[in-house]
């Protein structure tokens, strides 16, 4: 086993135990919630980073070539999780946002500086209500809040039909923890306009048509994959809009543990929205035997407060991948 410990340029190293934030920058809620269990061993992680660096090349120069040659290797590696230090870059490569950025020089600056948006007040009101426990976004008018505002405002101008809708801030906020404002903006564009996968803008358009569609489809998938639970839900009159709207609207970034959200995003950006359905089903499947005994109110509570072990990415995601 490789026991070298010299490598420390690849990860934000283990945070000292007295630190008030976790390795991702969130203010710790309770001490027992240790992050030690979440990651791989250091040396394994280092090997993984080396493999990834080779695969993407300097600044992502070899990426397209590699994906074309070995799509299955890429898919498998992404499903195991993109190394945190390369995440921002890889997300831009797999989402198609890097290409958008290169094709549209100066556009972002134009949107931020010269245009005004009807949504400005709505955006401002939500800025401090987006990842309020993360150090980057905590400081009033600090760099995090300013970037978040700029990206959301730029998008609301870029697509005035969508404008700004609550929930988009969590997407933008998540991206801003891994890339610059302009990169985050173009990744948002890539997602909503559908650069690689089906466009997401229907989640935010008037009437929230895509939310309604996804919830409807999810309900049917529950009945198909977990028929007993599906039946129990209809008996208790539980429908997915009571618990799953935010799964789709924010792609699990609203209230799920950050390490899990990141792993879901890795796969989401490469494979598309299917993973959101799969993770949702896997959560229900994992908690099936508990859920099936609960009545309405307890069910609602349970569906919004999954146990910690259910949200361990290394347990939940393999389960999600196995759902066809």
């Amino acid at each position: 086993m490789d026991r070298s410990r010299g490598i420390n340029d690849y990860e934000p190293g283990p945070v000292p135990s007295e630190s008030r934030v976790d390795r991702y920058g969130f203010i710790k809620q309770n001490v027992s919630n240790s992050s030690a269990a979440e990651g791989l061993g250091k040396s394994r992680e280092a090997r993984r980073v080396r493999k990834w660096r080779k695969m993407i090349g300097v600044g992502g120069s070899d990426w397209k070539h590699y994906v074309r040659r070995k799509p299955h290797v890429v898919k498998r590696r992404i499903r195991k999780g993109i190394p945190d230090c390369l995440r921002g870059l890889v997300w831009q490569l797999i989402s198609g946002s890097r290409d958008l950025l290169l094709m549209n020089p100066g556009v972002y600056e134009q949107l931020v500086i010269y245009e005004t948006s009807a949504s400005e007040l709505d955006i401002i009101r939500d800025i401090s209500r987006t990842f309020p426990t993360h150090v980057f976004f905590q400081q009033r008018h600090g760099p995090g809040q300013r970037s978040l505002y700029n990206v959301l405002k730029a998008y609301s101008v870029f697509d005035r039909a969508v404008g700004y809708v609550q929930g988009m801030g969590f997407l933008a906020g998540l991206l801003l923890l891994y890339m610059s404002e302009e990169d985050a903006f173009w990744l948002l564009v890539a997602l909503l306009k559908g650069a690689v996968h089906a466009p997401m803008e229907g989640l935010y358009q008037v009437g929230l048509p895509l939310v309604q569609q996804y919830l409807f489809q999810f309900e049917h998938l529950v009945r198909e994959h977990l028929p007993k639970l599906g039946e129990h839900f209809s008996r208790e009159m539980i429908n997915p809009s009571m618990y799953a709207s935010q799964w789709f609207i924010t792609v699990f970034s609203y209230s799920f543990p950050f390490p899990l959200a990141l792993r879901i995003w890795d796969v989401f950006l490469f494979e598309g929205v299917k993973i959101v359905f799969k993770v949702g089903l896997a959560l229900l499947k994992y908690c099936h035997d508990d859920l099936i005994n609960l009545s309405f109110e307890k069910l609602i509570h349970a569906l919004r407060n999954f146990p910690e072990d259910a949200m361990n990415p290394d347990i939940l995601l393999p389960m999600a991948y196995s759902i066809k």
């Binding site: 987006t130 939310v211 208790e236 609207i249 609203y254 009545s295 109110e297 307890k298």
Partner: protein, 217 residues
Amino acid sequence: MAAYRADDDYDYLFKVVLIGDSGVGKSNLLSRFTRNEFSLESKSTIGVEFATRSIRVDDKVVKAQIWDTAGQERYRAITSAYYRGAVGALLVYDVTRHVTFENVERWLKELRGHTDSNIVIMLVGNKADLRHLRAVSTDDAKAFAERENTFFMETSALESMNVENAFTEVLTQIHHVVSRKALEVGDDPAALPKGRTINVGSKDDVSAVKNAGCCSA
């Protein structure tokens, strides 16, 4: 499901909705009432949230099932489904932002379009602790409430002022409506007495309520 019997020890179950513009403090009113918590660092609500609390009204135990909804207009596509079957509503505005008071009229219209005419509505002016920032006068709001035939109260979820009163008043008034109706009709369409295996709070119970002979439609 005997295990949950204790929790369900109530005489009446009332569905109540929290509505109003984004950022007026709906979620904090709910957490203050149901958990006695307030957070300056709360996230904006996406979709709907849900909480319950039982209180004693007259000599009955009344359980409130409260749905807290996202305030942004775009979300009404999802949230308006939750109005149906509600027997009470807290329509919240922010006393420091006049526009949230101006929008009350639209919320009221929307609410009345989706609910039974007997619904008990309380207009709630929240953030009353921010005295130096006040933009809506108590008199204006009171006059509006009288005109629209709703109850009215100013609250501060932060200072825990009137929150208990506001919810209690709504639940008490609902209870009165129900008792009156029970006398008139001999049946109780607006509430679900204990013991019946009916679930409240989702779309389908609504039709149950309406079919029982309510006056809308």
